[in-house]
C-alpha cells in the first residue's frame, strides 16, 4: 500500500525462508523446533501486512505461545535435556530433494502463469475483529460449535493418552 511495503515483504520473506530451510535441513531437532518460531512470526507478519490483524494475533498466541512450547516440551521430554546433539536424521534425501524442487517449480509456473482475477476496488484496511465475532456467531455458528466439540474431544483424548503412559509406568515400579 505504501512505499515501505516491499521492504517489509522482503524482510519477512528472508526470515520465513531461512527459518523454514533450517526446519527442513537442520541436523539438530532443537534448532528445528526453535526455527519454527521464525516461520510462525514471519507468517504472523504477513497476516498483518495483508490486513488480517485478528488472525495475526491469534497466530502469535496459539502458535508461538502454545504450540511452540508444546513442541519444545515434547522434544526435550523424548530426547533428554542432557543430550546436546539431539539428532534429527533424514532419509531418502537423494530422491526427495529433486522431487521437492520439481514440486516448487510446478507451483511457481502455475502461480506466475495463471491469469488471476484482479479486484478493481482499492483494498480498504480496517479492523476485522468485530466483524469476525459477528460472523462467527451468525453465519459460521455451526462450524464454530463443531470446532468447540472437536477441541473438547482433543482435550479429553490428549489427557487420556498421556495418563495411560503414566499409569503403566507406575504399575511397573
Amino acid at each position: 500500500v505504501t512505499s515501505w511495503q516491499p521492504l517489509i515483504f522482503f524482510g519477512l520473506s528472508g526470515l520465513v525462508v531461512v527459518a523454514s530451510i533450517l526446519i527442513a535441513f537442520s541436523k539438530n531437532l532443537v534448532y528445528s523446533s526453535f526455527a519454527l518460531l521464525g516461520t510462525f512470526a514471519g507468517v504472523a507478519g504477513y497476516f498483518v501486512l495483508l490486513g488480517a490483524d485478528f488472525v495475526a494475533v491469534v497466530q502469535l498466541l496459539v502458535y508461538i505461545g502454545g504450540i511452540m512450547v508444546l513442541y519444545l516440551f515434547a522434544v526435550l521430554m523424548t530426547s533428554g535435556i542432557g543430550d546436546v546433539k539431539v539428532t534429527n536424521k533424514s532419509i531418502a534425501t537423494k530422491w526427495a530433494l529433486p522431487a521437492a524442487l520439481a514440486l516448487l517449480l510446478t507451483l511457481g509456473k502455475l502461480i506466475y502463469g495463471t491469469k488471476w482475477f484482479a479486484s478493481d476496488q482499492p483494498v480498504v484496511l480496517e479492523p476485522t475483529t468485530a466483524r469476525i465475532g459477528d460472523m462467527l456467531l451468525t453465519e459460521y455458528l455451526l462450524p464454530f460449535e463443531l470446532a468447540s466439540i472437536l477441541l473438547l474431544g482433543v482435550l479429553v483424548g490428549a489427557v487420556a493418552l498421556g495418563r495411560r503412559g503414566v499409569q503403566a509406568e507406575g504399575k511397573g515400579q
Binding site: S20, I23, A24, Y46, V55, A74, A100, F117, G165
Partner: protein, 101 residues
C-alpha cells in the same frame, strides 16, 4: 507494490519445505514440524486470496479454523508421540514398526 504472485510464491516455498520435511524426517517430532509448515502455508494462502479479493473477514474465519485444527492436531500428535516414546524408548519412525505392541 507487491502483487499476488509474490505472496503466493512465498507460501509455495513454505509448503514445499514442509512436504520435504514430512517425507525425509525419521524423527516423529520432525515430521510434525513439517505438517505445521504445510498448515501454516495453507492459512497464509487463504489470507492472501482474501486480501487480494477484498474479503479479508471471510478469509480470516477460514484461517482461524485452520489454526484451530492445527492446534488440535499438534496436541493429539504430541500425546501420541510421548506414548510411543514411553513404549519404545525412541520416536525414530524407522524403529517403531510393531503393531499390537
Amino acid at each position: 507494490m507487491i502483487n499476488l504472485q509474490h505472496f503466493l510464491f512465498i507460501s509455495a516455498i513454505i509448503f514445499v519445505l514442509g512436504i520435504y520435511t514430512v517425507v525425509t524426517r525419521r524423527n516423529a517430532l520432525g515430521i510434525l514440524l513439517g505438517t505445521e509448515l504445510v498448515l501454516n502455508a495453507a492459512a497464509l494462502n487463504i489470507i492472501i486470496f482474501g486480501f487480494f479479493g477484498n474479503q479479508v473477514v471471510e478469509a480470516s474465519i477460514y484461517a482461524l479454523f485452520v489454526i484451530v485444527l492445527a492446534a488440535a492436531e499438534a496436541a493429539v500428535a504430541l500425546a501420541v508421540g510421548l506414548t510411543i516414546y514411553q513404549n519404545f524408548k525412541t520416536i525414530d519412525t524407522m524403529n517403531v514398526r510393531e503393531l499390537k505392541g
